[in-house]
């Protein structure tokens, strides 16, 4: 057994998994509240990465560099991703709130195709090089073989984001309203919660998380493209289902499990079949435990 190799794979899997987890949170929150697979969520993540790329480009040419650029780019990307998420919900999903289940799903697929092609037309269909914004830290020198500085930043930022999200949902007014809406939207409305606003807030928060994921992953892999959203979206949804959809800790766990499983499969068996491991895991989980790892099986009442 080569433990060093295993350890490297585990670290890579954790990093990948935490990105999946960030995107999966958006899926799981939206699904929990309006039972909709927001297919266009991956596209929001892609738009976040693209906006960050543009801001970085403008700032770099204006003579700034390093961490300042990263922070500014991340903030602008988050603002725009939130704006897109909000608008998307207003246009594509709100008119279909009471339609049959299939309609919003198809609308979401349409929105996803639209956004992807919109970015392709407005920018470029080619791969763009994303600058390395996270410089190597001096204290990371001894272990940089296993965990690069960028990986550390990703892990730390993800952990902080999760904590912030938990606090938001547990202790704030809007978080309480979100939990109430998730349990019973009609009842929530009756006790005076503005459900429309809660849904908008959910989309905005989910988009913010997706934008963070977009900026982080773009600065790690070093390239972006208008099509990156699709695969990331599907994988993140897989992660959300894996953990039990609608369940927030489940999404994080699902993301990590998926990331590690994928990296181990790619490392030990074959890297060409990386995506097959992800989907295979999804199919297995759904057959064996349809409610997901942390989800409770709901008995259907008639």
């Amino acid at each position: 057994m080569d433990f060093q190799y295993l350890f490297e794979l585990l670290c890579g899997g954790m990093v990948k998994g935490s990105i999946y987890a960030l995107i999966a949170l958006g899926y799981t929150m939206v699904y929990g509240i309006i039972q909709l697979i927001n297919f266009a969520h991956g596209e929001i993540y892609m738009i976040g990465a693209f906006v960050a790329f543009i801001v970085t480009g403008v700032l770099t040419l204006a003579g700034y560099s390093g961490l300042t650029v990263l922070v500014v780019a991340a903030i602008v990307a988050m603002i725009y991703a939130a704006a897109y998420g909000y608008t998307l919900e207003k246009i594509a999903y709100r008119p279909l709130r009471n339609a049959p289940r299939l309609s919003p799903l198809i609308s979401a697929i349409g929105a996803s195709i639209f956004l992807m092609n919109y970015v392709q037309l407005a920018q470029t269909p080619d791969f763009l090089p994303f600058p390395e914004l996270i410089s190597d830290f001096a204290f990371m020198e001894p272990i940089s073989r296993y965990v690069s500085s960028a990986d550390l930043v990703i892990l730390v930022v993800t952990a902080l984001t999760m904590i912030a999200l938990t606090v938001l949902i547990k202790y704030t007014r809007i978080g309480k309203a979100m939990r109430a809406t998730q349990q019973d939207a009609v009842m929530a409305r009756l006790v005076g919660i503005n459900v429309d606003r809660v849904i908008s807030a959910t989309f905005i928060i989910g988009s913010l998380l997706a934008a963070i994921a977009g900026v982080l992953i773009a600065s790690r892999t070093g390239q972006i493209n208008a099509a990156i959203g699709f695969m990331a979206g599907i994988k993140a949804f897989t992660a959300a289902v894996l953990g039990g959809i609608g369940n927030i800790p489940g999404a994080v766990l699902g993301g990590l499990v998926l990331g590690i499983a994928e990296t181990l499969g790619a490392g030990y068996i074959s890297s060409a079949y990386e995506d097959v491991f992800a989907f295979g895991l999804l199919v297995l989980i759904l057959i064996l435990r349809p409610a997901g790892l942390l989800g409770k099986a709901v008995k259907q009442k008639v």
């Binding site: 738009i47 040419l61 198809i106 992807m116 949804f237 074959s270 060409a272």
Partner: protein
Amino acid sequence: MNHFKRSLGIGLWFMFLTLPLVVVRVNTLSQEVEWRWANMLWVGLAAFAIAWAWRYSIDRRAARQAQGGSQTRPLSARRSWAQRLSDDPILSRRLLMVAALAALAFPWLVSTGQNFYHVNIMVSALIFVVLGLGLNITVGLAGLLDLGYIAFFAVGAYTYALLSKNFDLGFWTCLPLGGIMGMFFGLVLGFPILRLRGDYLAIVTLGFGSITKIVLENSDVLFGGAAGIAGIPRPDLFGLVLDGREKSLYSYYIVLALVALTVFVTNRLKNSRIGWAWMALREDEIACVAMGVDMARTKLSAYALGAFWAGLVGVIFAAHNNFINPDSFTFMDSAMILAMVVLGGMGSILGVIIAALALKLLPEYLRAFAEYRMLVFGAVMVLMMIFRPQGLISGLRRKYEYDVSKGSDDVGK
């Protein structure tokens, strides 16, 4: 005036929204930033105009409704022309005859001499008509959302390609084999996902579709890898030697016959016992099972029959193109077929045919807009869901309604 302000607000919002992506373009090679301010103006104006028109039309409709009062139009007037047409057996039969004649004569009308470009385009459009009709069984009739339908198409295409390459089997032997292989895969994949509902089903089928493509791409020895398989023989006709034009014509008539067969079979299935079970399952699974419908058998049959048509037409696709590679079987193609079913009207045969022809033929002839094709396609999918969720021609089930205009005393007591 209020409308003006609100529309202005929407225009400004979209200008803000599109600011970084549409206006700025960073060229990383030459280290330059390109500012395209004119685009922003256009976006703002377009958003303003659309918002204004939207408000105006809503106002108009409200005004008309207020004027019309509570008068409801009689039932017969509420139905669309297509439904009224299909209710009239003599007229619809005549129209069917005209359509059949037009389809048979089509290649002789458009292709002269060695020019068979239009025929080839029509063949690929008709292939998608069959795919649309096949998916219509799974999605439209049985309500099982399948996002990986293209995988069965791939199964059919690769069945023919491999059998003809390795075992020298002819087209006509492989045609049923392709269909059976598709059906077999439908059953194999259908079993584990019987318990899943709606959204989960969609995502698992999407997963299957993606796995199929990845496997095809990566197994170089068996499936030819990303390069695909070339030199697939065209359909044979009793050993006659055909030239290019005749080959296209032959493919055209084969696929046309398949379309006719699919329409016939789907139409009969729709009004059969199993068809009613599918529709009942689509409307309410629990109630349907409670009424004694065998859920597993009904779902599997819908899945397998949908896959059967895809496998069948996959063989024709491989034979017509001479060449296949995994790029023909992407998620976008699955989404395209799904869009045909949805835009045409779920469960409606005529609607699916029209939508499939429109979606395949319009992009071919509107080359100037080729860039914007997918953009418009996505937008149309969203707009259709909002404004006309039942599709172009809704697949209405036969139902018995009380017609108010005729009036009768014994109702309401």
